[in-house]
């Protein structure tokens, strides 16, 4: 009769118990699915991390366990002997020192030069701007193996082979474009209004720059320096070609010659040396990974 009576009675309310049961069932299925994904996730985690785990675990094992055919997953008989052996190897400290000198010089020189260019790219519009960006990214893409010959021949001509300075210059070629591009991103990330506000308040452009921009961009500078540090520390092909004397090698090259050609490889020592080479890199990388990861895909991903 009345429309109200037709619409008012809701579709015969399903017994609340049945409804809840359905909900519970769905929830249970959701949980089961999540549990399954978690298991997959843990398996993936274990597979990915295994090589790193195996490196450290081998480095801490006594030789008998390393060379036995049945592997010991985690030794109870932990020893630091392999680390002592690795450090006692000839040229370990020389190469550490060389690596630090090269990396220090590369970071100091390229950061100053790159920062200036990054400011130009981020804060000014100028003719040739686009060409410069193409140049910067283009160089980033060049395969290093293809550059070995020209760089070697030119450095040999000026007596810079087997000199740490020669390697510093080479690393700057690779790392300047990277540093310019990353720093540009960091500077662009700072709102223009901040700087303008300071200028309205009577600061000069330089004053605004030093007092407002510099402190804000400092974390970006640190992150980029660390990344330059890591790349220079890890670099292998140029270090191997340019520095010929063993006492002139960098740590990475020292590690690559560790087992040499001998038949009986000192696996424990090799893994200890590998761990020692990786430690500074891993620590620094963990500190800056978040800040740097998106430089190469800038724009496609909003970090």
């Amino acid at each position: 009769m009345s429309t109200a009576s037709e619409s008012a009675p809701r579709p015969p309310a399903p017994a609340p118990v049945a409804r809840r049961a359905a909900l519970v069932r769905r929830e249970r299925r959701r949980r089961a699915r999540r549990l399954a994904w978690n298991v997959v996730g843990l398996v993936v985690f274990a597979t990915l991390v295994f090589p790193v785990f195996w490196m450290i675990s081998t480095a801490l094992k006594p030789d008998t366990e390393i060379n036995s055919l049945a592997p010991t997953w985690l030794s109870t008989d932990t020893t630091f002997q392999h680390f002592r052996d690795a450090i006692a190897r000839p040229y370990f400290w020389d190469t550490v020192k060389n690596s630090l000198i090269v990396v220090g010089a590369v970071v100091a020189l390229s950061m100053v030069v790159a920062f200036l260019a990054a400011v130009a790219l981020a804060k000014y519009r100028f003719t040739g701007n686009k060409l410069f960006v193409v140049l910067v990214i283009g160089i980033l893409m060049l395969p290093q193996a293809g550059l070995v010959i020209p760089l070697y021949v030119v450095l040999a001509r000026y007596g810079l082979t087997n000199e740490l300075m020669g390697l510093v210059l080479t690393h700057m070629v690779i790392l300047l474009p990277f540093a310019v591009w990353t720093l540009r991103g960091f500077i662009l990330g700072i709102p223009r209004e901040l700087e303008e506000a300071a200028m309205v308040d009577g600061s000069s452009r330089l004053g605004a720059f030093v007092r407002i921009l510099l402190p804000l961009v400092a974390p970006g500078l640190v992150a980029t320096s660390v990344f330059v540090f890591i790349t220079s520390w890890n670099e292998y092909i140029f270090a191997n070609v340019i520095l010929t004397d063993q006492s002139n090698h960098t740590l990475t090259v020292w590690l690559s010659y560790f087992y040499g050609t001998s038949r009986n490889v000192d696996w424990g020592g090799l893994m200890a040396a590998s761990t020692l080479t990786a430690i500074p890199v891993v620590i620094f990388f963990l500190l800056v990974q978040r800040k740097i990861a998106f430089g190469l895909t800038a724009g496609a991903v909003k970090a």
């Binding site: 999540r34 978690n38 997959v40 996730g41 843990l42 993936v44 985690f45 990915l48 991390v49 090589p51 790193v52 195996w54 490196m55 049945a70 592997p71 030069v113 200036l116 260019a117 130009a120 804060k123 701007n129 960006v133 193409v134 990214i137 283009g138 893409m141 290093q144 193996a145 293809g146 550059l147 070995v148 010959i149 020209p150 760089l151 021949v153 030119v154 001509r157 700057m172 300047l176 474009p177 310019v180 540009r184 292998y236 590690l255 690559s256 490889v265 090799l270 893994m271 080479t277 890199v281 891993v282 963990l286 990974q289 990861a293 190469l296 895909t297 724009g299 496609a300 991903v301 970090a303």
Partner: protein, 317 residues
């Protein structure tokens, strides 16, 4: 008196202002000058040298005399007629396709996995990815060498234990295919974190409502990926793929060290190793320069997509 003084101050003020304006216009150029100088000196000149070297007979005697002998296109014809060059090029292309394909597929799968797991698993997995990412290439090579060692490498042990087959004393470095497969495994392992973390960040940009709407309309997970997620992630995939192609095509450290300096030869060359051995190790810099130049041109052609994309994005920002 006062008028004259005023006009003179005006005049004296005007000149510096135009100077200052001119100076301000030149500021960006002054700022990029150091980079330009450094790059021209240590890259521009060598690249020029590379071109001239490729037309010269330039070996060790010439390196000492610092004077090459002009031989025209002989280096190029020697390289292009060399079967090793073409075989290496083909091998490198197949290698690149395999490596890039595996990296992108596995990396993306793990990114999708990250979305589905509980928070604590996600944190753990991300930490693991970053740890793997941070491993220096040379260190990773040594670990791989140890794990795949034929005598007591863990890989043989695990495969045997899992019942995959009898891999006791199996030598992974016996055949070319197997050698390059080990290199692939190493490279893909090292490259997955970058892809996963980038794709995962991209996934966060996909609007939830869009996915839910598609699901309500009855789209299965594959359909959602194809019609909703993928189009949004497309620019990311484009960049990741082109970067991976460029990197894997020119890769040197992993194949050179894992196969071993004394075991790389014409049967297992990849482009990066080939150019290094033929040019540098054999001290035939002229011919090496020709190969380098050909390789650089190929990579430059591959980079066009990436560079254009980056420049465009630089403009919109």
């Amino acid at each position: 008196m006062t008028v004259a003084a005023e006009s003179s101050t005006i005049r004296s003020r005007r000149r510096p202002r135009t100077v200052r304006r001119a100076l301000r216009g030149s500021v960006p150029y002054l700022l990029i000058l150091p980079v330009i100088v450094v790059i021209t000196a240590i890259l521009g000149y060598p690249l020029y040298k590379l071109v001239t070297l490729s037309f010269q007979q330039y070996g060790l005697p010439e390196l000492i005399l610092r004077q090459g002998v002009w031989i025209g296109f002989d280096n190029y014809s020697s390289v292009l007629q060399d079967e090793v060059f073409w075989r290496t090029l083909l091998r490198t292309m197949i290698f690149t396709v395999a490596n890039v394909g595996l990296t992108i597929v596995l990396g993306t799968s793990i990114a999708f996995l990250l979305v589905r797991v509980s928070t604590w698993v996600r944190v753990l997995l991300t930490a693991g990815l970053v740890l793997v990412w941070s491993m220096p290439a040379v260190v990773a090579v040594q670990v791989w060498y140890w794990m795949t060692n034929f005598q007591n490498g863990i890989l043989n042990h695990v495969l045997t234990e899992l019942g995959v087959g009898d891999y006791t004393q199996h030598d992974w470095y016996a055949s070319t295919f197997s050698k390059l497969a080990m290199v692939t495994l190493l490279i893909v392992w090292g490259a997955i974190p970058f892809v996963t973390i980038t794709v995962y960040a991209g996934l966060a940009q996909v609007p939830r409502e869009l996915v839910q709407a598609a699901e309500i309309d009855g789209a299965g997970p594959l359909r959602v990926f194809r019609d909703v997620t993928f189009p949004i992630l497309k620019p990311i995939f484009l960049i990741l793929t082109s970067l991976s192609i460029i990197w894997d095509f020119g890769v040197f450290t992993q194949p050179y060290l894992l196969i071993g300096a004394s075991h790389v030869d014409t049967t297992n060359y990849l482009m990066g190793v080939y150019v290094f051995i033929e040019g540098y190790a054999h001290s035939d810099f002229g011919r090496g320069a020709a190969i380098s130049l050909l390789m650089l041109l190929m990579v430059a052609a591959m980079s066009v997509v990436y560079v254009r994309r980056m420049v465009k994005m630089g403009e919109t920002r």
